[in-house]
Amino acid sequence: EKLESVTIRFCGDSGDGMQLTGTQFTTTSALVGNDISTYPTFPAEIRAPQGTLAGVSGFQIHFSSNDIHTAGDELDVLVAMNPAAFKTNIKDLKQNGILIVNQDSFNAGNLKKAGYKEDEDIFAKWRSRIRIYEVPISKMTMEALKDIDMMARDKERCKNMFALGLMYFIYNRPLENTEKWLESKFGKKKLVLDANVAALKAGYHFGDTCEMFQNTYEIPKASIKPGTYRNITGNQALSIGLLTAGQLTNLPLFLGSYPITPATEILQEIAAYKNYKARTFQAEDEIAGIGSALGAAFAGSLAITTTSGPGIALKSEFMNLAIMAELPLIIVDVQRGGPSTGLPTKTEQTDLLQVMFGRNGESPIPVVSASSPSDCFYTALEAARIAIEHMTPVVILSDTQSAIGSEPWLLPDIETLPKIKFKFHTNADTYKPYDRNDMLARPWALPGTPGCEHTLGGLEKENISGKVNLSAEAHEEMVRIRAKKVENIAKTIPATQVYGEQSGDILFLGWGSTYGAIRSATEELLKRGYKVGQAHIRHINPMPNDLGNIASRFKHVVIPELNTGQFNMIFRAKYLIDTKPINQVNTKPFNVSDLVKRAEEIIGGKA
């Protein structure tokens, strides 16, 4: 049977290796030519006791013969390795969806841990609605490995490979890629390697031989842009982007940071590139992270600090100093659920107003955002360009969804990467600390340069000379210059592309990781014959100058955000357009179907 696209979620105990299973299914699917998009779900606890609800970990894969943009709304298939996983994930399975469970783990003990009665028939109320396959995954794995000389519990740990093999069978995927990967991973540990391969094959053959699965499925190749790809998460792409910026500018990279979920990985990624002159400094707190980065910028590094929501509060005072000192500095905020400690592992777009306005005084700062995992790479390059060419701190807004989600990245050819133009000021005779170029950027002269000695600081100053000056005239002028300097950036950004209709009923206006869901909704609505366009912006401050004009070509401007309407407020205030916000703050990315539904209501005048 041929299918267009399928969404599978593997879930089980943190210890069950679901992330790994998911990743394997992903690369294999990529290799057979499907387009893919994935999204993992982690427990907030490190390792909650085995079998408990708090310990459930999952990995979702959407693969298709079309070009896709999200990890999928509802699940076609749910693989649940224990009762806790079943309980926490079953509601996402669609009508008539396939549920595959590891029968062996649905015992009294695990049922109790998941909060069921020991003898409860937990599938009862589902049988009518979905197709349930109870597979003795553990037993059959043990069986398959009976000849391998290994401790029982180690054998049992191969059950995820059995499950993977089974899914490979059902969706007609080759085993080679995973076999190759297992070799590279366990090459030395022969026994472990054999055990995993055996389990993988056993799963595959089980599907083949047993009667359970009447039909298997074909998901044809997608027509994908030719080129070289790798599967990448947003945190990886952002790290590579920053490292690339360092290489392009020939500047040493300095990352001052303090660990915090979900931004920590960026620090860990970049720490592996000391040979790229990438210096990572695990500071004592967020303040020291940005403070050290600002010092590094003063001394000539491409300076970065990374954090997540709660960390921004602590960085705000230094962000303001960076604005006054007019030094290049990249502040990365990987947004997570808030307020306060909130929901550290969940996604949200609720830090926009904080990074725009969370500082005392009039303190304009450029803000750019990433619309997908691979887009984090280009966002990083653009942030570096703005920071250095315009001598200003810049905020990058990413979020949990982009950061830990993954997608295939069509690798750019190096020559086409954007250039970043700048040079240090070294001429003592012409040096004035707050002199201005045509974009109002001031010169960057490094300590160690003879004759360019100067003192920076957070007190108000006078233009050109940079001398401390608290007069009415100086303050008025500097407030104006700092604002204009940021506005000028809009002159350097490309025209906004509108996907779909260029005028009509609805313009979807979005930013950040909602891109995929909005794009899919737009495609669906166009299919249904609506006059819909999508403008998705990278630059939030300054906004592209053409937005007002574009918006004016549509009857409704619809602004979907995973917050209560933050960008919406800024846009409304600026253009006085009665926008239609679509807001959701419930730990989850948008469902494409919800967006489509709301759009139809709006067009139909029901909203």
Binding site: T27, R230, S292, L294, G295, A303, E453, T455
Partner: protein, 349 residues
């Protein structure tokens, strides 16, 4: 413009524009001493960077004709660290106050010291918040009456020497703005130290805490209140008529006794000792232990690799091992596949 290192004089470090501390402020003397010492260090003027927080003391960089950064309250240590890690050849000096460096900034002070970042820290201790017009600070003596402690403070002061030593300081010294000669010796020693050099400078705020350190200056008391440290010499003071020893073998205490002439009984000052026990002891004299004189000079000076040094060593090692940066390698790594006319191909194959 670019004077050669040999020709540098004090004048080269004095910028135009007036200094705006209160007339009579101890900060003036510190400024002058620093400007006197710098040209003697054999370091090019453009390589000096002065970084401060916020406070009267922290206005310091504006009054130096070097590179400077007047940052935010309590955070100078973080900025100084970033500068030094980026360019280790710079001579980085941090200027802070008892409030800036020990109240809001105490944590950064602890960590920069722990890391042995090669930064010279000058802590101007006037035992008061000057810039905000006279509230008590973490070094104010208990019971002090200020605008925010009308019935006297109820918290015990921190001893900057003990704090720095417990943080693992490799160089710790105390001096006073009222004694330029001594101050300049200490500053020179600090400048010569590789790693974090922590210097407490007792400084009089004649507006809000005048006379805080009078006992170290008054004719009648100065001999019995000051103990000037000299490497390898016994701890003698009051013109060598008195000395400090450790008494009570199994349960030792510091005591001061008459110097009979044979000074072999007295503790000998050894700033280079591996452990920080004796410096910790000596730092408490007078300050935490009434009736004993206060130690002035270098309490500790031991050589350990600095953070910035080790950071760049690891970088060099990594480059040697793995070769330097390469965009292509960077981007085209991990599990790759190509989509072309035909089937996707796994590039690792």
């Amino acid at each position: 413009m670019n004077t050669s290192v040999q020709e540098l004089t004090k004048k080269d470090f004095i910028p135009e524009g007036d200094v705006k501390w209160c007339p009579g402020c101890g900060d003036y003397s510190i400024l002058s001493s620093v400007q006197t010492v710098l040209p003697t260090l054999g370091i090019p003027k453009e390589d000096f960077v002065f970084i401060s927080g916020i406070g009267c003391s922290s206005r310091f960089p504006y009054y130096m004709a070097t590179y400077g950064f007047h940052t935010i309250h309590g955070r100078a240590a973080t900025v100084a660290s970033g500068v030094k890690m980026t360019n280790p050849k710079l001579s980085v000096w941090m200027v802070t106050g008892d409030g800036d460096g020990l109240s809001i900034g105490g944590n950064h002070t602890m960590h920069i010291i722990r890391r042995n970042m090669d930064v010279k820290i000058l802590l101007f201790n006037n035992r008061i918040y000057g810039l905000t017009k006279g509230q008590y600070s973490p070094t104010s003596e208990k019971g002090k009456v200020t605008k925010t402690s009308l019935m006297g403070t109820i918290e015990r002061p921190i001893n900057p020497m003990s704090f720095a030593l417990a943080s693992g300081a490799t160089f710790v010294a105390r001096t006073t703005a009222a004694n330029p000669k001594h101050m300049q010796e200490v500053l020179r020693a600090a400048a010569d130290h590789k790693g974090t050099a922590f210097v407490e400078i007792l400084q009089n705020c004649n507006i809000f805490n005048d006379g805080a350190f009078a006992k170290y200056l008054n004719k009648e008391t100065k001999d019995t209140e000051n103990l000037f440290l000299e490497t390898g010499k016994p701890l003698l003071y009051n013109n060598d008529t008195m000395g400090i020893k450790l008494e009570g073998g199994t349960n030792p205490r510091l005591v001061s006794v008459e110097n009979s002439g044979d000074s072999s009984e007295f503790l000998v000052h050894d700033p280079h000792a591996e452990d920080s026990i004796m410096p910790y002891l000596i730092g408490q004299l007078g300050v935490d232990q009434e009736g004993l004189p206060t130690a002035m000079g270098v309490l500790r000076a031991v050589v350990k690799p600095s953070y910035d040094e080790l950071l760049h060593e690891q970088e060099a090692e990594s480059i040697a091992k793995r070769g330097s940066g390469d965009i292509k390698k960077l981007i085209y790594s991990g599990e790759l596949w190509t989509v072309g006319a035909g089937d996707p191909v796994n590039m690792d194959a």
